[in-house]
Each structure stands twice: as C-alpha cells, then as structure tokens.
C-alpha cells in the first residue's frame, strides 16, 4: 500500500516586501501555475490539494475554501495545515503522507503569505500562552535572542560569528531571482545595523515578505513519467515541543537534533557532513545558522563558527547552506518552509540555475517555528529502497 513519493514540479512567485498588484488568491495562483508548468501538468491532473499559511496573518482563517479560485481547488479535496513557522514544511510532510498512503496519486502542495497585510508581531503574539507568556512578552525576536545568548554563553561564540552567517546568506541571495532582498552586506554593516534585541542586529534577521510556493508530489506509479529525474522524498521527521517559553533548552534546538537522528539513522547516513550535498535550512536569524547545524550533527557542539568561517557552507564549499539566500533574504512565513523544500528539490533535480550546487545526491530541507519546533525532509536523486 505504501508508495514512494517524488516531487515532480515546483513553482514560486518573485517574492516582494508587498504585492499591491495582487490579492491572496491571485498570488497563490502565480505559484500554482508555475508548478503546473514545471511539471507539464494541468489542474485536472491534480487529485488533491494541501494548502496553508499562518493563522491571523491575513485575518482569513478558512483559506482552504476562500482560495479555491487561485489554488484550483474547485470541487477537489482540499485540506488546510497550519503549524506556525513550520507550516510550509508541515505542508510538504502532509502532502508526502497523502501520496505515500496510496490514496492520492498527484497532490498539489501550496504555502503562501501576504505578510504585508497584517501586524506580524501582533499575529505572532497570538501563538503564545495568553495567561503566562503573553503578559510579560517582549516580541518574537527576543525569544530568538535568548537562544543566541544561551549559545554564546556556553561556547564563547560572538556576534561576529552570527554576522558571518548573515553575510553568507545575503551573498547567496544574489544568485536567486526569487529572493526578496538581493543586496550583499559586509560584516561591519551587519554589526553596525540597529540592535533589535541583544545580540541580534537588524541585518541578522529575516524580513517580512509577500509570496507563495507550490510543489507537486506524485506517487512512484507515475512520478518518472511526469518527470524523468524527480526529487525523491527519502524520509521526513517532525518534532513539536514546548508549552511555555521557559521549557526550552536555550542554546540547543533539541527538536532539530531528534529529527536529524531519526532520519539519518533510518536512512543509514553515518557522516552527514560528507554524505549530504546541500542544506536549505529554515533559519530565521543568523545565529541559528551556527547553533542548528550543530544540532543537525553536521559539526560538534561549539564547532560551527570555525566551520563556517572556513567557508565550508559557502557556495563551492564542502556543504553549501542556503544557496537560495535562505530565510534572512526572504520570509513569506506560510510559504517559507515549502520554499526550502522546493529549493532542495530543485537542487536534486538539477533545476536550481544560478544557485545550483553540482552533483547533488542528498539534500536536506527544514522548517522551524511554533516555538522551537522542527520539521525535516531528506531529498535524494536515487529512488529510495
């Protein structure tokens, strides 16, 4: 019954800070049309749709119904998934489950956001406990800042190490016409940008973005007929923890560690640093680029700054991270995790154009959100056993 699942087409908008020229359904449609064109399929070929965005971001909470003009969901099964920042990655995992179950052959997965239409901080605040955390809250960035403080205190890392990650991702974005922010910055510029929440500077964090992404998944029965070299989804993992902000281990992302262990053990990856060719990480701020590759098992605790300063995660390095420019360059939140998945798929399929990493056998994409949650997908060129 269980089917192997492949990604056979992807599509994205050209992401911008605001898109006054289109409404929500229309921005969704742009991504859907591009994904259908990429897979050379028509909307009638699609058996079911999974769609999601952040709750409260547009103030439209029955998006699965409201968006059918844009998604192509008229008289089709449509399911909405929304899990905060992880939404896009949860959508990919949900689509994978639907096709993998054998119940649907071709599933269209859509993540989108018109972040410009709402008060982002106000909407994010609704994700936190109203009685305990919301009364003494200092904004979403402060939670990330507390993680960075915890890591720096434990391993002696500095804000220069964080800034180096921002310099990398912003440089990579120059190769990606879909990225919102395409401007190189220097280390000094990052460190001189306004301090938002110590130790996070303005240029360490992601922007607010309008954008959409669509991915088409197909079962092994038809995948190679649609796309001769599809991106096979080898394994997915999700770990959601946290009820209150005080529950987390500040300086370590335990959910990332658990996801990576599950996937790498089941697939038999012993040296992820050598065996994985590219990572598209949902990294909403620069310091996560240090902390989370350690939790993923790429390098040991405290080793990320040295690994990154040596250029290993730059384009042309041992293990390029975020060839797309990542989340720091572009963050339409409900689409962001799915963009990571689409970018990883494009790397495996050899369709990543100016940001292509040569000879990708395995790619990893992740989602982050809620609070300290991780979703992870392992993508591969070969059909899984």
């Amino acid at each position: 019954m269980a089917k192997r699942v492949a990604i056979v087409g992807t599509g994205q908008t050209f992401h911008k800070s605001h898109r006054p020229d289109v409404n929500g359904q229309e921005i969704i449609n742009e991504a859907v049309q591009r994904a259908l064109a990429d897979a050379d399929l028509k909307i009638k070929d699609i058996d079911a749709i999974v769609i999601g965005n952040m709750d409260h971001f547009e103030g439209i909470n029955y998006v699965d119904c409201w968006s059918v003009d844009g998604s192509g969901g008229v008289m089709k099964p449509v399911i909405k998934i929304t899990t905060g920042g992880t939404t896009g990655a949860s959508l990919a995992i949900g689509g994978n489950h639907m096709v993998g179950s054998g119940m649907f052959e071709k599933v269209l997965v859509i993540g989108w956001e018109k972040n410009s239409e709402s008060d982002t901080t106000g909407a994010i605040t609704t994700a936190f406990d109203p009685i305990w955390d919301r009364q003494v809250f200092a904004g979403a960035i402060s939670g990330l800042a507390a993680e960075a403080q915890g890591y720096m205190a434990r391993y002696g890392a500095s804000d220069r190490d964080g800034a180096r990650v921002s310099v990398r991702d912003r440089k990579h974005a120059m190769n990606n016409p879909h990225a919102q922010l395409r401007k190189e910055v220097t280390l000094e510029e990052v460190l001189a940008s306004p301090m938002l929440a110590d130790p996070i500077h303005l240029l360490d964090v992601c922007p607010r973005t309008d954008g959409a992404c669509a991915v088409i998944m197909a079962s092994e029965d038809v995948a190679e007929k649609i796309c001769p070299k599809p991106d096979w989804i080898w394994k997915t993992a999700a770990r959601h923890s946290y009820a209150y902000l005080g529950d987390a281990d500040y300086g370590r992302l335990v959910s990332m560690e658990r996801c990576a262990k599950e996937i790498f053990q089941k697939v038999g990856i012993k040296e992820p640093r050598k065996e994985i060719d590219v990572i598209e990480m949902y990294q909403p701020y620069s310091f996560a680029g240090l902390i989370w590759i350690e939790d993923m098992g790429i390098v040991g605790p405290g080793e990320a700054p040295g690994y990154i300063w040596d250029g290993n995660t730059d384009m042309g390095g041992e293990l390029p991270v975020n060839p797309s420019g990542g989340v720091i360059s572009c963050n339409p939140i409900g689409a962001t995790g799915l963009i990571r998945c689409a970018e990883a798929a494009m790397q495996v399929m050899g369709k990543a154009e100016g940001r292509q990493v040569p000879d990708v056998n395995f790619a990893v994409s992740t989602g982050f959100g809620g609070c300290w949650w991780t979703d992870m997908l392992l993508h591969g060129k070969k059909k899984p056993n």
């Binding site: 200092a138 403080q149 005080g246 529950d247």
Partner: protein, 155 residues
C-alpha cells in the same frame, strides 16, 4: 524590482477586527495566582512519578502524562537561564514598560522549569546568564503573572 507596480494604483481596504476573548486560567493556575495575590507566596505542582516541579504550574506532567496532585513551595529567588534586551517598542510589550526592556527566563530555586518575566533595577549591560535574581512583588495584586512586578539582581 518596482517594475511590476508600474501603472498600478493600489487600493487598500483598512480594517480592524474586534476579537475579544476571556481566557479561563483553570483551577491549577488559579491556585498559583490566588497564593501569589493573597500571600505573596510562590507554589508549584510536583509530578508524583518523576518528581519534576513545574512553573508555570501544569495540571499534567507532559513526560509521564499523569496528573500532578502535590503542591510544593518554591523560593522567590532563582537563577537567570537566558535573557534578551528588547530595544524596539512593539505592541506586544506592555505599555507601562520603558525601553530598553530586559526579558529573562528565571528558574526559581525548587522549580525544574523556567518562568518568563521582566528584569528591572539593573543596567542591561550588567545582565549575565547564571546571575541570581529575586522576585519583586507588585503593590497592587489582581491575580495574574504581573503580581510579580519584575525580578531584580540579588546583591
């Protein structure tokens, strides 16, 4: 980048949705808040299986998945687990707090989980992970987490 907006007169519909809520704290949290309000005492439930003491209080231990029935006293002093300094005024920061706002996770002596709160009576530059802090109770207490006004360094 702005080419796609050429010739477009973007019409915007401004709206504000009024969505009032009343959140019930529940028996477990209420017990904590009533002690805080009336006695300036900090109490927390303890798991009968693993012994973990939860602050904020939890009715069920998430690890053992059994109901916590025993309550213990927790100190009003503890250790700073992590922190940040918010330097921008956001709507989510209470109106009475002045920038910069120091925001910390405090593990009180006797508790196994940290509680989120404000740090005050301290220069932001002097805040360090691991520093000892003490609760300052609010003069007027109404039965909420801000019945603790803030935490200050133990000198």
């Amino acid at each position: 980048m702005s080419d796609i907006f050429k010739g477009i007169e973007p019409l915007i519909y401004e709206s504000k949705i009024n969505v009032p809520y009343s959140w019930w704290a529940g028996d477990t949290a209420s017990k904590f808040f009533i002690n805080l309000r009336d006695e300036k005492k900090i109490i927390a439930p303890r798991c009968g299986s693993c012994g973990k003491v939860f602050l904020p209080p939890r009715k069920v231990c998430p690890a053992c998945f059994t109901e916590n029935t025993e309550w213990v006293s927790v100190s009003d002093e503890g250790t700073l687990v992590s922190y940040s300094v918010a330097r921008r005024k956001l709507a989510s920061i209470p109106a009475d707090k002045k920038l910069p706002v120091v925001w910390g996770l405090v593990k009180l002596d006797g508790a196994d989980t940290a509680i989120l709160h404000f740090l005050d009576d301290v220069d932001p530059g002097d805040v360090k992970i691991g520093m000892r802090v003490k609760a300052v109770f609010a003069e007027q207490r109404t039965g909420g987490i801000r019945d603790i006004s803030h935490f200050k360094p133990v000198r």
